[in-house]
């Protein structure tokens, strides 16, 4: 691990960025989805009454409202505490936001196993697959608070629809060698190496780094890429890396199908076919349990990355 200082959580960082932007840009509009009360959102509403609504509508109605506001010149941000928004409102997301490519950003504040004890229904492990297939849309999965804030700013600046999948548990801040801000379509190479390419997003980036330290002790130098932009995929960074290493492991807090792993397999199979191994929750739904426990139980730790990396390395293309 590069740096163990725990910073404000992702959601907090993004809300801070929203507050900054709201002063500079009066067209910014924050929409709180669902009927859960949130102190920091309400505080924003008090400071910017003309740029905030918490209408307590259904997910679909909230998305439609966001589309209407965006059609009238607003840059809308939909904050959702419910992990189910993507599924409940998918039709509206597709037809009212993605097809017309409206400037609406979604802050998914309870992604992956965050639902924890609430059980299967609240643990959304298929969202990347649903969102990634939509043209015009950016799908962003930051791995720490600074990158979450940067991705938010850059995605708002880019203007199209985007989804920012946030992790509730505060994650350590990563050391990025590249001084440029994280942006849609970008990637951070956190560790260089020519033994195996480890691609990961969100929580799993930290596990990939842990695995890389152990791999190094075993004589395999891993290249760790933070693929925070699941769409658009940082094709060049990934292709350049797998051409050197000849093998790849993808780790994500998501189902096996259709997420970052799927995206990278689609890319690599066309540009430079090498063996790709996946670390994911596989073809399963979740169950009740603490978020940390679940990650362990469903095989989302450095240990699985380690064994996948060893396997990929033995099959590597030379």
């Amino acid at each position: 691990m590069n740096d163990e200082t725990v910073q404000p959580g992702m959601e907090e960082t993004v809300l801070e960025a929203i507050r900054e932007q709201a002063v500079l840009d009066s067209s910014l509009f924050l929409l709180a989805a669902g009927d859960e009360r949130d102190v920091s959102l309400e505080a924003f509403g008090q400071d910017h009454p003309d740029q905030f609504l918490a209408p307590a509508l259904s997910a679909k109605e909230t998305v439609l409202l966001a589309a209407g506001l965006a059609l009238s010149g607003r840059r809308v941000l939909v904050h959702s505490l419910s992990p189910l928004l993507v599924f409940q409102a998918y039709d509206a997301i597709r037809s009212a936001i993605a097809i017309p490519s409206l400037p609406v950003g979604f802050l998914l504040a309870r992604a992956g196993f965050t639902g924890g004890e609430d059980g299967t229904l609240s643990q959304v492990l298929e969202d990347l697959a649903f969102l990634r297939v939509l043209p015009n849309v950016s799908v962003l999965v930051p791995s720490d608070s600074p990158s979450a804030g940067q991705l938010f700013r850059e995605a708002v600046r880019a203007g199209g629809p985007f989804f920012l999948r946030l992790c509730k548990t505060p994650l350590p801040v990563l050391q990025r060698h590249d001084s440029a801000a994280c942006q849609p379509g970008g990637a951070s190479i956190l560790r260089e190496g020519d033994g195996v390419t480890l691609c990961a997003c969100g929580t799993m980036v930290h596990e990939a780094l842990k695995a890389s330290t152990i791999l190094s002790q075993q004589g395999i130098e891993a290249e760790v890429i933070d693929c925070y932009s699941v769409k658009p995929l940082p094709a060049q960074a990934i292709t350049a890396s797998v051409r050197r290493t000849g093998c790849c492991v993808v780790a994500e807090e998501h189902a096996a199908a259709g997420g970052l792993g799927g995206a990278i397999a689609e890319l690599v199979s066309q540009s430079s076919p090498v063996p790709v191994k996946f670390v994911s929750v596989q073809d399963r739904f979740g169950q009740s349990g603490g978020a940390e426990e679940l990650l362990e139980y469903y095989g989302l730790s450095f240990k699985e990355i380690l064994s996948a990396a060893s396997q990929a390395w033995t099959m590597r293309r030379r």
Binding site: V63, A66, G68, A92, A96
Partner: protein
């Protein structure tokens, strides 16, 4: 407010020309939505040629009134009205639904001047209209937002979520125009969507309502003028219409199984509309 007789005749004549264009468009594109378009022509004509405050030269004028069309089957009628109003060249009508055309099968606000919102599945447009109305209000704009809801959409659950949202948001600058086809009461289907039942439902959600004749310019204009009068209450205009209005072989028939018009049907429809045009011209001379 009584409308001038000449103005009524003019609107009738415009609606007739729009109907002819709709028949031609659908004849050329082999679409099957003729009956669905014909029932809304009078409503759209009154909106665009009488009620809405617009500037076709500047389609994005911030203070314009907006129409958001929920009934996607009625897109040809909207296109024909927009062309006649001068939002784009009437020639565009003849490539409706063709590859690369300005006039897409699905409404596209980015491609077509005058189209306010993307085409969307049944029952979803009112939700978008809510957002547009909320934005107009936040801008302190005098703009009013009209959302046209097709007869079939009234059975969609999401419509009633949007209806509830609009009254919760107190969108007094919003009007839903809900079309209800003329039906025999007691036919099983008609019971669900009678003008009175539809109005009662909107009222139960805290809307102001008015029932009007969807083919009478005077009745429609009066209903539309009520939009924006009550600051905190959205308005529902329940417009009684006839499917396929204006073409006797279609009117109020065959709502279930629309068929693509063949050349003969198109010719006969145009002949009938031209005959009606002559009759109107005589009436205007008197």
């Amino acid at each position: 407010m009584r409308m001038d007789q000449n103005r009524i005749l003019e609107l009738k004549k415009t609606a007739l020309e729009v109907r002819k264009d709709v028949v031609r468009m659908i004849g050329l594109s082999r679409a099957s939505n003729l009956g669905f378009s014909l029932s809304v022509v009078d409503i759209l004509t009154v909106l665009y040629f009488y009620s809405l405050s617009l500037n076709p030269e500047d389609p994005k004028w911030p203070e314009r009134d907006r129409l958001i069309l929920g009934k996607s089957d009625a897109a040809p009628a909207l296109y024909a009205v927009l062309a006649r109003k001068g939002f784009f060249d009437r020639e565009e009508l003849w490539s409706y639904r063709k590859l690369g055309a300005m006039l897409q099968g699905t409404l596209d606000a980015r491609r077509t001047p005058g189209v306010e919102a993307p085409g969307i599945g049944p029952g979803l447009a009112l939700g978008i209209a809510n957002g547009v109305a909320a934005a107009c209000r936040a801008d302190h704009s005098p703009a009013r937002v009209f959302c046209f809801i097709g007869d079939d959409e009234l059975r969609e659950g999401s419509i009633w979520e949007s209806v509830q949202a609009a009254s919760a948001l107190r969108l007094g600058n919003l009007a839903a125009i809900a079309e209800v086809h003329d039906r025999e009461p007691g036919d099983g289907k008609g019971d669900i969507r009678l003008p009175k039942t539809a109005a009662q439902r909107f009222e139960a959600f805290g809307w102001k309502t008015i029932v009007c004749d969807g083919h009478s310019a005077e009745s429609l204009a009066e209903a539309f003028s009520l939009c924006g009068r009550e600051k905190d209450y959205p308005l529902a205009v329940i417009a009684k219409t006839r499917w396929g209005k204006g073409i006797s072989s279609l009117e109020n028939r065959n709502m279930k199984a629309p068929i693509a018009p063949n050349r003969e049907r198109v010719e006969n429809a145009l002949l009938e509309l031209e005959k009606e045009g002559k009759r109107l011209a005589e009436e205007m001379e008197e």
